[in-house]
């Protein structure tokens, strides 16, 4: 089939190559979910399937099925890491249709992320319901596995923040991203975020506002139809959870989040139904007001003063730059360079998701053609070797022989340094020019 745009033709060729490759691990058929032992349970399950699910659930009588299948885990030192602790918060939110309440658990990971995950709660466990197409409508409660899974197979390990039914923030000692206000919109009431039937909007869809605001947050106000309501957040972590019927704009399942810090003046903007966040610190109270659903500023009695921008300490910049001696190796296939591997000894350790090394390849030409980036999102000791793989470095027409790159260290640590003109925590370690070796050719991007 021909497309109107050549770029879509090229993308189809790439997909065709990948689809026709045999035995991709991601495409092994998933094992069938384990079933609950039927026996005596069968008559009860039939009642559930006949429409009694939610009524029974409301009385606490609901049977537990197999655990939600865990996605392929990442290692403890990469991506979001693995759970090191998990606790279900005592807060509960009623579902508009009744039945099992909604709840939230906090999972801390080996890479220093604090993840909030939302689901239905039964018998002290968080999970999903086999209704509305999920789990073949078996009417059972399916607890989440201990591991948190990223949103999609192959989901981001680059930002490492979105997980199934939730989101992650960095630990409280970081300077940025240690608090978050988030929303899941248009999701099914079964909480089966990635294991259910992918369905168009239904009357059972929900909008869920939730967040982790840190120890200074005390209360959130939110819109409920045309009225306003408020609730106290869970002390310590500043957690809140609001479940509402999906609004008219929630025509698709989706998620969004507003990151910020635990400092009131630099806290996350309100998101979802939340219109203001109240903080109590040192005996004084202040609020941040904003309605993310219509972009309007919400008037508040005592607005939190903006936190001062951190001074840009630059003293370490030159010292670190001079120490970096990247080596560049080329990956050559059929006589053409398909990638450049940039390796160097790490001048700083990476001990969690709050830091990473990255290489940015600047675009060239009038449209910034060929701009690309690669991130090394693994723990590494100081002096350990970092490998960054930049693919097809000579594919752009305007960079057939040379490519300029920047090697950066990005950190959200509270004491992170930054280079002049860079974002907080971003340190320019080196700039380099990758030159096509004499006698070689650059591989074009596959078409």
């Amino acid at each position: 089939m021909s497309h109107r745009f050549r770029a879509l033709e090229a993308l189809e060729s790439e997909l065709r190559r990948v689809v026709q490759e045999p035995s991709k691990p991601a495409h092994r058929r998933l094992p069938a979910p384990r079933r609950a032992r039927w026996g005596l349970l069968l008559p009860i399950a039939c009642v559930l399937l006949a429409g009694g699910t939610l009524a029974l659930a409301a009385t606490g009588v609901i049977l537990t099925g197999s655990a939600v299948p865990a996605a392929a885990p990442v290692g403890p030192a990469e991506g979001i890491g693995v759970p090191v602790s998990s606790r279900l918060l005592p807060m509960r939110a009623k579902d508009p249709d009744g039945g099992l309440p909604w709840g939230m658990r906090i999972v801390e990971t080996s890479r220093g992320l604090v993840c909030a995950q939302v689901g239905r709660v039964d018998n002290g466990q968080l999970g999903e319901l086999g209704i509305d197409g999920a789990f073949n409508n078996d009417g059972l409660f399916h607890p989440f596995p201990a591991a948190v899974a990223q949103s999609f197979p192959g989901g981001s390990t680059e930002d490492g923040t979105e997980i199934e039914g939730g989101t992650c923030t960095l630990g409280g000692s970081t300077a940025w991203g240690s608090a978050v206000a988030a929303e899941l919109w248009g999701i099914d009431r079964n909480a089966a975020f990635a294991h259910g039937h992918f369905s168009p909007k239904s009357p059972q869809a929900r909008d869920i506002s939730y967040g982790l605001l840190g120890p200074h947050a005390s209360r959130v106000s939110y819109s409920e139809g045309s009225s306003r309501d408020s609730e106290a957040v869970a002390p310590g972590v500043g957690a809140y959870l609001i479940v509402q019927r999906a609004g008219p704009s929630s025509d698709r399942e989706g998620s969004g989040e507003a990151p910020g810090t635990q400092i009131p003046g630099a806290g996350p903007g309100a998101d979802g139904a939340v219109t203001s966040i109240t903080y109590d610190q040192n005996g004084t109270s202040c609020e941040n007001g904003y309605d993310a659903r219509n972009g309007a500023t919400v008037p508040v009695a005592h607005a939190c003063l903006p936190a001062g921008a951190p001074a840009p300490p630059v003293q370490a910049t030159k010292a670190s730059t001079s120490r970096l001696h990247p080596s560049i190796q080329f990956v050559v296939r059929a006589g053409r360079v398909t990638a450049a591997e940039i390796s160097f000894a790490a001048p700083f350790p990476v001990r969690g998701a709050a830091q990473n090394y990255a290489v940015w390849s600047k675009g060239c030409g009038t449209r910034g053609e060929g701009a690309d980036a690669a991130v090394f999102n693994h723990d590494v000791a100081k002096g350990g070797i970092v490998h960054l793989l930049l693919k097809y470095p000579f594919a752009a027409r305007c960079s057939r022989a040379q490519r300029s790159v920047e090697i950066l260290f990005d950190s959200s640590a509270a004491d992170a340094k930054r280079s002049p003109g860079r974002s907080p925590g971003q340190l320019l370690l080196a700039t380099a020019t990758i030159t096509l070796p004499r006698g070689d050719l650059g591989a074009p991007a596959p078409h």
């Binding site: 745009f5 993308l11 999609f152 701009a371």
Partner: protein, 177 residues
């Protein structure tokens, strides 16, 4: 489980709709193409888990992925490439005339005057970056030079500005995909 052989026809049927959806929300054919490539790469990775034959439901699922890509781009300032990397895929390089055709088909030109009005609501850093990139159509590298910031910072400012404006953009497009 969805039939693997059905994936390419699915791509053929939906690719342009996804590209238009993303171009209208980023106002940038190049970024939209990167997001489209990552969307279909993620869709292929998730294909074995699709358990429906309903075209409507599959389309809804695909656009869910596209919206997530868009959301990440608006937060992070650059398109995610994890699935592309995992599959060893490369984003196609689009040439200028192709990009112009994509943006014309998406009607980006028509929205630029309205966008100029909306710019006034942004903070000055974001407004300047968006003005240079989307209204004056400069490459990111030049935006960065003009503003005295790094290219990643320029990309981040543009994406945050678009995020701040996404509600009004949704109104502008009248819910169009």
């Amino acid at each position: 489980m969805a039939d693997p052989e059905g994936f390419l026809p699915f791509y053929q049927a939906e690719a342009e709709a996804v590209l238009m959806f993303l171009t209208r929300r980023t106002l940038d054919g190049e970024v939209a193409l990167e997001l489209t490539a990552e969307t279909f790469a993620q869709a292929w990775l998730g294909w074995p888990r699709v358990r429906t034959d309903s075209e409507e439901e599959m389309r809804a699922w695909l656009f869910t992925i596209a919206r997530r890509q868009l959301g990440r781009y608006l937060r992070r300032g650059h398109a995610q490439r994890d699935a592309l990397r995992r599959l060893g895929m490369q984003t196609p390089v689009a040439h200028e005339d192709d990009l112009a055709a994509i943006e014309a088909a998406a009607g980006v030109e028509a929205v630029r005057p309205e966008l100029a009005v909306e710019l006034e609501r942004l903070n000055s850093d974001q407004r300047d970056a968006l003005q240079l990139r989307v209204i004056e159509e400069m490459p990111y590298e030049e935006v960065a030079v003009r503003l005295g910031i790094s290219e990643p910072t320029a990309r981040a400012r543009v994406s945050r500005a678009l995020r701040a404006m996404q509600r009004s953009l949704a109104v502008t497009w009248g819910g169009a995909r």
